[in-house]
């Protein structure tokens, strides 16, 4: 598969808002059906990066040449502050899990990583990770209630595209 070039002018820097992390989970639609609820992460967060946490093993042969093996990556993204905000569906869900101490429900999230600097309007490149974990790390703060979270990507992922940048996007898996 050909490498997709950035949809940026030469030397133009990608804006931070073009890297999007979206959390998704299933909720009951009433009756027996469920539907996927989505929320963009990063509201009121000034700085957040995906840390890949590569497990690296390096050896050196008798000629002095280094060989570096990457055993695995454990991608993680922290959102701090993650403020309790009116209208936040994920915040409400995590707070509900916290109240019930229902820790087993924290590893059932789907996370979409959308790189809006790759692709074009109507087909932005994205990754879909299933069975991801979101943890809440603390709760409190000073003037506002902060509820910082960490997102742990499962690496159980597929690549594809999303047709738009909004809660109702459609993810199309690459063939």
């Amino acid at each position: 598969m050909a490498v997709t070039q950035f949809n940026l002018a030469d030397h133009q820097r990608a804006e931070r808002k073009q890297l999007l992390t979206v959390a998704a989970w299933q909720e009951s639609s009433g009756g027996t059906g469920t539907h996927e609820v989505r929320e963009l992460l990063g509201r009121r967060t000034e700085d957040s990066s995906i840390e890949y946490n590569a497990d690296i093993q390096t050896s050196t042969d008798i000629l002095g040449i280094n060989y570096t093996d990457i055993n695995k990556t454990q991608p993680q993204q922290d959102f701090d502050p993650y403020l309790i905000l009116g209208g936040s569906k994920l915040g409400a869900k995590l707070n509900d899990i916290r109240r019930r101490n229902a820790l087993s429900e924290l590893d059932q999230f789907t996370i979409y990583i959308i790189t809006a600097f790759c692709g074009e309007d109507g087909a932005y490149e994205a990754e879909k990770h299933v069975n991801c974990t979101i943890t809440y790390n603390s709760m409190g703060g000073d003037a506002n209630v902060n509820f910082p979270i960490s997102v742990y990507l499962s690496n159980d992922s597929v690549t594809g595209t999303v047709d738009k940048l909004g809660d109702d996007f459609e993810f199309t898996q690459d063939i």
């Binding site: 931070r16 808002k17 073009q18 999007l20 963009l40 509201r43 000034e46 940048l165 909004g166 809660d167």
Partner: protein, 158 residues
């Protein structure tokens, strides 16, 4: 949405302002006139967030003109507190702003701006000076007000 007009529309709902002339930037002040003075807002205080929204601040000042009484507050055992009463009227505007903030009743900056808070920068009015060239002399009390809002116009996620 013009934020200056939004501020005017907002302030004229204040009981202490709506019954008196309100001027924008320029005025020949008379007793109880109010004046809005715009203030340049430093971009350095803008706080961009990873989703593309930006926390911004809109600052302005209200000047309230009050006639001056050159009398001692206490003289020969008689309390003359006209100046004190005047400043209490100005204080009412500060209290009104606090009440609106508590009630989350904010100026309407349009759909691309989510107003977070409105507050005065001080708990009591500032006396900026006295204009003695008019009769009666007018004291200029000022209240600086800041509106914090999130500008979501550049957010990609709709």
């Amino acid at each position: 949405m013009d934020k200056n007009q939004a501020i005017i529309d907002y302030l004229i709902t204040c009981p202490k302002i709506q019954d008196n002339p309100l001027y924008f930037n320029f005025i020949h002040g008379n007793e109880d006139d109010k004046q809005i003075i715009t203030t340049g807002n430093e971009k350095t205080i803008d706080r961009p967030y990873v989703d593309g929204s930006v926390l911004k601040r809109f600052t302005f000042t209200i000047i309230d003109f009050k006639s001056v009484a050159y009398r001692a507050v206490v003289k020969d055992g008689i309390h003359v507190d006209e100046n004190v009463e005047d400043i209490l009227q100005v204080q009412d505007i500060i209290d009104w702003i606090d009440e609106q903030n508590e009630a989350r009743n904010f100026p309407n900056f349009g759909e691309d701006c989510i107003v977070e808070s409105i507050s005065t920068t001080a708990n009591n009015p500032n006396l900026n000076g006295v204009d003695s060239n008019v009769s009666p002399a007018l004291a200029k009390y000022s209240i600086s007000i800041q509106v914090n809002y999130i500008d979501v116009s550049k957010v990609l996620w709709k």
